[in-house]
């Protein structure tokens, strides 16, 4: 069955993974800018990274008939150094008009610091100024609840921000309701060891509903599974969900949110 992978870090994955995604039915994937597993030594390194996201990965994906889109920003972890982060942000205007760029992301908080929050808010303002959607990363493990609350409070202070232009990713049982109640979209990340398992993601769909929610693999350089979304679709099938419902969550919902970007289209 066709699906959209709305969050995957393909710079960390092999070409074989692209083939597996294509064989599993992936029509399009979206790659948010993120932390590479180590701190870059200079803002210029981000110039190369943004070229990789806007030129190299779309070409790799196209070889397997997958549409590749990306989100640009400086990630929350490297945003704790505001001087460095602002230098990286000066690179963004040159890239935001590239044809596969969807919006600003994945911005957010990592250790819930004031420095991170300042850079988060500058990114939100940039998205507002340009009319772009926003993809938000929520912190890991014990920091997630606090970070989600801080960012929801911050977003509520942006008058003129349409909450439905914002997806807050990596939600779990303790954060999903507050995100949806604020009018934002929610993303569930399917990880083997942290975030959501397929079973729990389906539980969340059962308890919170099927509106304004998507699921992703967020596959990267860490413990993660590029086929997590089709695995969860299979689990939904085992739990008795109809084809239509599975398609809604795995294809229609991401398509609907991503269509907030004028660059998103599924024609090859």
């Amino acid at each position: 069955m066709s699906y959209i992978e709305p969050h995957a870090h393909m710079v960390s994955r092999t070409t074989d993974d692209y083939e597996k995604l294509a064989l599993a039915g992936c029509e399009a994937l979206c790659e948010p800018a993120f932390w590479a597993g180590f701190d870059r030594s200079s803002p210029q390194a981000f110039h190369d990274y943004f070229r990789q996201l806007t030129e190299v990965e779309p070409a790799r994906a196209a070889k397997f008939a997958i549409r590749h889109f990306c989100w640009l920003c400086i990630n929350p972890k490297e945003a704790d150094d505001p001087g460095f982060a602002r230098e990286v942000m000066t690179l963004l205007p040159d890239f935001l008009d590239k044809p596969n760029v969807l919006g600003i992301g994945e911005i957010g908080l990592n250790k819930n610091t004031r420095n991170e929050l300042a850079i988060f808010e500058e990114h939100v303002q940039l998205a507002l100024d340009r009319g772009l959607p926003v993809l938000i990363h929520t912190p890991h493990l014990e920091d997630k609840l606090k970070g989600t609350r801080i960012m929801l409070d911050s977003l509520a202070n942006f008058s003129g921000l349409d909450p439905s232009m914002v997806i807050i990713d990596h939600v779990e049982e303790h954060t999903v309701r507050m995100v949806l109640d604020a009018g934002h979209w929610a993303g569930m990340t399917l990880y083997p060891e942290s975030k959501c398992t397929p079973s729990r993601a389906i539980d969340i769909l059962e308890t919170e509903g099927l509106e304004r929610i998507w699921m992703n693999s967020a596959c990267d350089w860490g413990v993660s599974d590029p086929l997590a979304v089709p695995r969860c679709m299979l689990e939904m099938k085992r739990r008795g969900y109809s084809r239509e419902t599975i398609r809604k969550v795995a294809f229609d919902n991401p398509r609907d949110f991503l269509s907030a970007s004028t660059n998103f289209n599924l024609d090859i």
């Binding site: 610091t113 420095n115 493990l141 014990e142 920091d143 739990r239």
Partner: protein
């Protein structure tokens, strides 16, 4: 929607294995030298009774028990990464 029995048929063995794994993990920790008041262990012990609750929302409650609920917002991070349990300074 599967029935309760069908869900048990599908998932009971997996849940059983996870409970045994946690029990064996606690035994393993006890057998080895070190600080018994380690914050992660304290947080885990605080979370375990939630499993015995009769009300729904157990997963949410466990996640909350393993979350940082402090209000402080430092200027910059004292350390990177996350341990999976609230900082030691929080009340148990």
């Amino acid at each position: 929607m599967p029935t309760r029995k069908e869900l048990l048929d599908m998932q009971f063995i997996d849940a059983r294995a996870r409970v045994i794994d946690v029990a064996a993990f606690l035994d393993r920790i006890d057998r080895h030298p070190g600080d018994g008041e380690e914050p992660r262990l304290k947080a885990l012990r605080r979370a375990l009774p939630i499993l015995l609750s009769d009300s729904p929302g157990r997963a949410k409650a466990v996640l909350e028990a393993l979350s940082d609920t402090s209000d402080v917002m430092p200027e910059s991070a004292a350390f990177q990464g996350a341990t999976g349990a609230p900082p030691a300074s929080e009340p148990a």
